[in-house]
Assembly symmetry: C2
Homo-oligomer: 133 residues x 2
Amino acid sequence: MEQLKNDLRQCGLRVTDQRLAVYDWLQKNPVHPTADVIWQALLPRYPNLSLTTVYNTVNALAEHGLIRTVTIDRAEQRFDGDVDDHGHFHCRLCGRITDFPIDPEDVKGMLPKGFIPEQCDVFVKGLCAACAH
Amino acid sequence: MEQLKNDLRQCGLRVTDQRLAVYDWLQKNPVHPTADVIWQALLPRYPNLSLTTVYNTVNALAEHGLIRTVTIDRAEQRFDGDVDDHGHFHCRLCGRITDFPIDPEDVKGMLPKGFIPEQCDVFVKGLCAACAH
DNA sequence: TGCTAAATTGTAATCGTTACAAACAACAAC
DNA sequence: GTTGTTGTTTGTAACGATTACAATTTAGCA
């Protein structure tokens, strides 16, 4: 938790209970949640927490690279506490999101000359191992 | 244009002026447009064209694999007449989207055992060659 | 030519997200 | 500690891309 506080401070963000709660929850729950899911999960412990604050917080964290945004369904934004490069697999049957390791160098090798990549997203749709059996 | 008609018919979709116009425009304008952009572009020639019809059409075309959807900015859906596998590069300075070739086999090789991919999306953010100079 | 199911149209609704202004709290200086 | 400044939180209202809906029109076929 001290680490999280330092992360916030190093980004020039003030340390607040709400931010710590959101950040900490994302670290411990790698489920690619929407803002609403985070809000629902924290409400019991923070009854005054506003959904707006959750949005403000995840936007601030994402802007400073402390978390990443994931677009699985265009209709809603999801967030990911894991900022290391990795791919996302979306099973069209069970709907589950599975992370898988990628080598960003492989992806960067696909780019035309002169292009400078800063963030790679690899997103695959299909059938997961369980649903394909 | 005959080809486009056949594409529609083979998907069990009726051939209408509106669908042909949208489909044809997407083929000839590889600019990853939003529904609104398509609508604005076609309005001069089809003054009665409804934005709803553009949405209906791109959704129908995408559902049958005749076009693909691209999510560059989560806030709005874009469409791509090129259904072959390729990556999208989004320059954070000029905002331009550049297509680049990918080898889907490379991407599939990153997946865990047993996972069956059906569609791959590779999306890279950074600086394009022109902006990086 | 007429029938029927599908497509188009315009309007109204939906819903995730953001704008805004007032109340509050972090944190640095004293 | 106390204070002051500035950033943050909160609730509500607005926003905007997309979709639902019902009435009208049209494609495709007998």
